[in-house]
C-alpha cells in the first residue's frame, strides 16, 4: 500500500499545488477585504456585515471556501481515477498481488493527504494568522474555526464523489456524476443548519456513504454487479440523493423558467402601520403596488388630492418606532447558535470610538480592539477598563449583524441582567442608570431618533420579566406598564412615538407581538395587542388585532412541483403541502412503483428484490424510479429459440422454459481437436 500511496502522491502533486496556490490567493484576498472593511469603518466611510471584520466568519470567504473545496475535492477524486481509467492502465493498476481494497485505500490516503495539503494547509495558515495579535482587529475563539472546518470536511464528500464519478460505468448524460448529488445536498445542509451537530453528522454520513460507494466501485471496476452488499447499498443511497438533486433542479428550472412566466400569481403581503396620531392602517403590497386601508377596509385617501394615499405621502405620517425582543426565554441556552450564514452568533460590533472597535461577544463581554494596531486592548465592565475581561455578562441586543456607519443611533446604553449602564466610550466608563432588584431585564433598545433630532435619541425602551418601561437617560421612567400578556407568548414589544394632536391625546402606543411559532401552534389565534398611553402614563385605549400573515397560496406550477415530492414528505410536512395535490403525488408514486415492479419482473429479479425495489420506488416516487434505473445494469433481451419469448442474456437458461442458450451455429468449417499437455 505504501508504494501505491507514494505513487499517487507523486502523480497528483501538481494538482494539489495548483489548488494550494488558488486557495491561498483566495484566502489572501479575503484577508485583504477584511482589512479594507476595517479601514473604511474606522474612517466612517463604510457600513457592512460585522462578520467581514473577522475573515473566518466573512461570508465571502466562506462562500469561496465552499466552492473551492467542492471543486478541488471533486477534481482531485475524479482525476485520481480518470488518469487510470484507460482500460490498459486500469488493468496494469488492478492486476497485482494486492486486494482492490488495498489499492482503494492506497489511493484514498494519498488523495486525502493531497486534499489536506491543497485546502487544509492554507486554512490552517489563515487560522494561525487570525489568532496572532496584530493581524485582525476582531475577537477570535476556536469555535470560529468550526464553519470553515465544516466546509473543508464537506470537500471530502466531494472527493469521494469525484472518485465514484471517475469509476462509474455509466453514460455521462445518464448517471455517471449523480454521486455528486449527495455531496451537493450535504453542502446545502451544512449551510442551512443552525445546530452544530447536524452538519457534523451530515458530513460524516455523506463521507461514509460516498467512500463505501467508491470502494464498491473499485471492487467491481465501476459496475453495480459484482459489488459487495455494502457498496451496492451505498451506491443506491448516493444515487438516490443525486437523482433527488437532479429532479429538484429540473423541476425548479421548469417551474421558474418555463411555467412561472406563463402563469401570473400575485404576491400579497399585508401588515399594520401606525401614523403619528395613533391610528392603525393596514398596508397591503400586491405585485409591487401598495394600498392603505383602515381597519374596516375603507381605502385611505389623501386629503390633499382626494386620491388613494401614495406610499411617499404615507411615509411622512408614520410614527417612529423601536422594538425590543425579550431574550429571557432563551437566556439559559448556549447563546452560540451555529450558522454559517450568521456571524453575529459570535459577536456584534457595538461601537467605534477614537479608532477603537468595541465588540460585544457571545459571552457578554465588551471587548476593545485598537483599529490601527489591530490588537486587543482590554474589556470594559462596570468596574472600569482594567485590561482584564469583565466578569458580569452584558446582554445582546437583537439585530446586531450589521453595522451602519450612517444611520444608527450612537449607542449610549448597555445592560446586564440587572442593571442598565450609560457608556462613555471616550472615557471608557460605565455609569449605572437603572438597577433591578427582584426582576430581570429581557431586552432593551434606544429610541429611533429622527433626522430632525440630529440623531439624538432621548429615551430607551426596556422590558423585564414583569414590566415594559420607557426611560430617559437619567433613569427616570417616562411610562411603565405591566408586561401583559407575558414575554413567553409575546416576546416582542414595539413602541410607536406619537404626536399629541387635537384629536389624539396619546403620545405612545405599545405593541405586544406574539411569538411566530407559538402562534402557529395556537392556530394563529394569538392577536397583536396594542395599548395607547397618554402623557399621564394612563392607558387610554387598547385593541387586539388579528395577526396578518403572508398569503401562502401558491401558483399551480408551485403546487405541481410539490406534488413531485415523495409521499413521506407529504406525510411529514402535511401542513405545508397542498392537500388537493397530495393525490397526484401518491398517484405518481404508484405509477412509478408499477413501472418498477414491471421492470424488476421483466429482468428476473427475485421476488424479494422486486418487492424491495417497488417499495423503495413508492416511497421516493420519481426519484426512486430514476435511482432504480440508474443503479441497475440492464442486460439486453433476445428471443428464446425454444419458447419464442424474450429472455435476458445474462441468465444461463431461459427464465420461461429453462432452455439453455443454443450453441454457436455450425457452418462446417470448425476445426477442433482435444489439446494435450505439451
Amino acid at each position: 500500500m505504501k508504494a501505491m500511496i507514494q505513487k499517487d502522491l507523486r502523480e497528483n502533486l501538481k494538482l494539489a499545488l495548483i489548488g494550494l496556490l488558488i486557495f491561498s490567493l483566495l484566502l489572501l484576498q479575503a484577508y485583504q477585504t477584511c482589512i479594507s472593511t476595517l479601514t473604511n469603518m474606522l474612517t466612517g466611510n463604510s457600513s457592512g456585515q460585522i462578520g467581514a471584520l473577522q475573515p473566518l466568519l466573512a461570508t465571502g470567504l466562506l462562500t469561496g471556501t465552499a466552492f473551492f473545496c467542492a471543486i478541488f475535492g471533486t477534481a482531485l477524486g475524479w482525476l485520481q481515477t480518470r488518469n487510470e481509467a484507460h482500460r490498459d492502465l486500469w488493468a496494469f493498476l488492478i492486476h497485482r498481488p494486492v486486494t482492490r481494497t488495498e489499492i482503494f485505500w492506497g489511493k484514498t490516503i494519498a488523495g486525502l493527504c493531497l486534499y489536506a495539503f491543497g485546502a487544509g494547509l492554507p486554512l490552517a495558515v489563515l487560522v494561525a494568522v487570525v489568532r496572532t495579535p496584530g493581524y485582525v482587529a476582531a475577537p477570535f475563539e476556536w469555535a470560529m474555526v468550526v464553519p470553515p472546518a465544516l466546509i473543508f470536511f464537506t470537500g471530502i464528500a466531494y472527493y469521494f464523489a469525484g472518485l465514484l464519478t471517475g469509476l462509474r460505468q455509466a453514460r455521462w448524460y445518464a448517471s455517471r456524476c449523480f454521486g455528486l448529488g449527495l455531496a451537493i445536498a450535504t453542502s446545502f445542509g451544512v449551510v442551512a443548519s443552525t445546530v452544530f451537530w447536524i452538519p457534523t453528522v451530515l458530513i460524516a454520513v455523506a463521507v461514509l456513504i460516498l467512500a463505501a460507494a467508491a470502494w464498491g466501485a473499485y471492487q467491481s471496476g465501476g459496475f453495480y454487479r459484482g459489488q459487495p452488499v455494502a457498496g451496492r447499498l451505498a451506491l443506491t443511497v448516493a444515487l438516490t440523493a443525486g437523482c433527488g438533486v437532479a429532479l429538484f433542479a429540473s423541476v425548479g428550472l421548469l417551474v421558474n423558467l418555463v411555467l412561472g412566466p406563463l402563469t401570473h400569481h400575485p404576491y400579497v403581503w399585508s401588515y399594520y402601520q401606525m401614523t403619528r396620531d395613533g391610528t392603525i392602517y393596514k398596508e397591503t403590497n400586491r405585485d409591487g403596488n401598495t394600498e392603505y386601508a383602515d381597519l374596516d377596509g375603507h381605502p385611505l385617501l389623501d386629503p390633499k388630492t382626494g386620491q388613494k394615499m401614495e406610499p411617499k405621502e404615507f411615509s411622512k405620517r408614520i410614527a417612529y418606532g423601536r422594538g425590543v425582543l425579550s431574550t429571557l426565554k432563551y437566556r439559559n441556552r448556549d447563546q452560540y447558535q451555529y450558522s454559517i450564514q450568521n456571524a453575529s452568533g459570535f459577536f456584534s460590533l457595538w461601537n467605534i470610538t477614537d479608532k477603537t472597535l468595541w465588540y460585544l461577544d457571545r459571552h457578554g463581554k465588551l471587548l476593545g480592539y485598537d483599529g490601527q494596531t489591530r490588537k486587543f486592548i482590554g474589556s470594559l465592565d462596570p468596574h472600569g477598563n482594567d485590561g482584564k475581561l469583565a466578569s458580569e455578562p452584558f446582554l445582546q441586543r437583537a439585530d446586531s449583524n450589521y453595522y451602519n456607519a450612517y444611520g444608527d443611533v450612537p449607542q449610549k446604553i448597555i445592560a446586564t441582567a440587572k442593571t442598565v449602564y450609560q457608556v462613555d466610550f471616550k472615557e471608557r466608563t460605565l455609569k449605572p442608570v437603572f438597577t433591578l432588584t427582584n426582576d430581570e431585564i429581557g431586552g432593551y433598545d434606544e429610541e429611533e431618533a429622527s433626522y430632525e433630532d440630529n440623531h439624538a435619541a432621548k429615551n430607551f425602551l426596556i422590558t423585564t420579566r414583569k414590566t415594559v418601561c420607557l426611560m430617559d437617560y437619567d433613569g427616570r421612567p417616562i411610562f411603565a406598564l405591566p408586561y401583559k400578556p407575558g414575554y413567553f407568548e409575546y416576546p416582542q414589544v414595539e413602541i410607536s412615538f406619537l404626536q399629541l394632536t387635537n384629536s389624539s391625546m396619546n403620545n405612545f402606543a405599545v405593541w405586544f407581538l406574539p411569538d411566530y411559532l407559538m402562534n402557529k401552534a395556537a392556530g394563529w389565534k394569538l392577536p397583536e395587542h396594542i395599548l395607547w398611553i397618554a402623557p399621564a402614563q394612563t392607558v387610554t385605549k387598547s385593541a387586539d388585532l388579528p395577526v396578518l400573515r403572508l398569503d401562502e397560496e401558491s401558483s399551480w406550477p408551485d403546487k405541481l412541483a410539490t406534488a413531485l415530492l415523495p409521499p413521506p414528505v407529504h406525510v411529514e410536512f402535511d401542513d405545508k403541502i397542498y392537500k388537493s395535490w397530495n393525490l397526484l403525488s401518491y398517484t405518481l408514486a404508484l405509477v412509478c412503483s408499477v413501472i418498477g415492479w414491471t421492470l424488476a419482473r421483466r429482468y428476473n429479479f427475485s421476488t424479494t428484490a422486486s418487492i424491495g425495489w417497488t417499495l423503495f420506488i413508492f416511497l421516493l416516487g420519481i426519484a426512486g424510479l430514476l435511482t432504480f434505473m440508474c443503479v441497475q445494469e440492464w442486460p439486453v433481451r433476445e428471443i428464446c429459440t425454444n419458447c419464442k419469448k424474450f429472455r435476458a442474456v445474462d441468465r444461463e437458461s431461459c427464465e420461461h422454459c429453462e432452455a439453455p442458450f443454443s450453441p454457436p451455429e455450425k457452418n462446417g468449417t470448425e476445426i477442433f481437436e482435444p489439446l494435450a499437455k505439451v
Partner: protein, 309 residues
C-alpha cells in the same frame, strides 16, 4: 475439470449492449503450452482475455484460470499470472527504474535480473522516462515488468501491436526464449501469423465472436487446403463442396480452398473433369486468411465480370 488446464471456460459470453462480443466460448488451455489466440479485429480476443483476467465481468458462463474462478481472482492467483496489455500503457512520469521499483514492491517473488536483462535487451536506460520511450521500448519495458515476477502463466494481449517488424521480432524472441519453461504457459493473441507460426503449439481462431477452431497449429494447417484445377476453357460452375471456404475462378483455372478436404470433396471436384488437379500447400497466413476471409466464389473471368457489371 481437467487438472491440466490452466484456463478453462464454459459457455463464456459477453455482450456489449445488444452485441455479443464473445459467444458461448468453451476453451481448455493445457499447462505448459504456447497458445495463440487468433481472429480479426473485433472478433472478441481482447474481451476474452479481459474476462479471463477479471477486468470485465462476463454476461454469462463460467471460467477458471489456474483453477480459480475468474470473477474472484485473489492476489495470490494474480501473483502467478503475468498480464501484458495490448497498448503497453504505463505511468508516463515514471522512469524505467522507478517502474521496476514500483512494481517490485507488490511482488514477493521479483527477479531483478530478469527485469534488467529484458530492459537491457531493449536498450532501455534506467533514467529514461516512460513518456519519452518509443512504442517498441515501452513494449519491452512492459514485458520486463511482466516477466520479472516469474509468473507461471503469461497472458499477452497482442504484444506486437503497433511495433515495427524489428521491435516485434525482438519482443517475440524475448518472450519465447526468456520465458519458455516446461511448466510455464503462454497465452497470447496476435495478428502476426509469422510470430504465431514460429512460437505457438496450439491456436484458437475466433470468427465474429465465435470460436471456430481450437487445435494444434499443424492440425489447422493440415485442415485448410487448397486445390488448383486447370481447364481447357472457362471453368465450369462449382458444385456444392463440403467445408468450402473460397473458390476463385479465372479464365482457365479454379482454385478451391476448403476445410477438411476429403474423399467426398475430391470426388465432387474430379467430376468437373479438370485437365490438371493438384493440391497446393498453404502457409499459416494463407490458411488463416482463407479461413476468416470472405466466403464463397469469386470470379476473375473478364467476360463474366463485364456481363455482371
Amino acid at each position: 475439470m481437467n487438472n491440466e488446464s490452466v484456463i478453462q471456460t464454459r459457455n463464456l459470453t459477453k455482450y456489449f449492449g445488444g452485441k455479443a462480443a464473445v459467444y458461448e466460448l468453451n476453451l481448455d488451455v493445457p499447462r505448459g503450452c504456447v497458445f495463440a489466440f487468433l481472429g480479426r479485429n473485433g472478433s472478441g480476443k481482447t474481451t476474452t482475455i479481459r474476462m479471463l483476467m477479471g477486468m470485465v465481468p462476463p454476461t454469462r458462463g463460467t471460467g477458471t484460470i489456474l483453477g480459480h474462478d475468474i470473477r474472484a481472482l485473489t492476489p495470490e492467483v494474480r501473483a502467478r499470472i503475468g498480464y501484458l496489455t495490448e497498448e503497453h500503457q504505463l505511468y508516463g512520469w515514471m522512469n524505467v527504474k522507478q517502474c521496476g521499483e514500483f512494481q517490485s514492491k507488490f511482488f514477493a517473488k521479483w527477479n531483478g535480473r530478469i527485469f534488467r536483462g529484458v530492459a537491457g535487451h531493449f536498450g532501455l536506460k534506467p533514467e529514461a522516462r516512460v513518456k519519452d520511450l518509443s512504442r517498441g521500448e515501452r513494449a519491452g519495458l512492459c514485458l520486463a515488468l511482466t516477466l520479472a515476477p516469474e509468473p507461471e502463466l503469461l497472458m499477452l494481449d497482442d504484444p506486437g501491436l503497433g511495433l515495427d517488424p524489428v521491435a516485434r521480432r525482438g519482443l517475440v524472441e524475448s518472450m519465447i526464449f526468456l520465458t519458455r519453461k516446461s511448466d510455464r504457459t503462454i497465452f497470447f493473441s496476435s495478428h502476426h501469423l509469422s510470430d504465431v507460426e514460429r512460437t505457438a503449439d496450439y491456436i484458437a481462431v475466433f470468427d465474429r465472436s465465435i470460436l471456430r477452431a481450437c487445435c494444434p497449429l499443424e492440425k489447422f494447417q493440415e485442415s485448410v487446403q487448397q486445390v488448383r484445377l486447370r481447364f481447357p476453357g472457362t471453368p465450369p460452375a462449382l458444385p456444392k463442396i463440403p467445408g468450402l471456404l473460397q473458390a476463385v475462378r479465372t479464365e482457365n483455372e479454379l482454385r478451391v480452398t476448403c476445410v477438411h478436404y476429403n474423399g467426398e470433396a475430391e470426388t465432387a471436384l474430379r467430376a468437373l473433369s479438370p485437365v490438371e488437379m493438384e493440391s497446393v500447400p498453404l502457409g499459416l497466413e494463407d490458411a488463416f486468411i482463407s479461413y476468416l476471409g470472405e466466403r464463397g466464389e469469386k470470379t476473375f473471368i473478364l467476360s463474366e465480370m463485364e456481363a455482371q457489371s
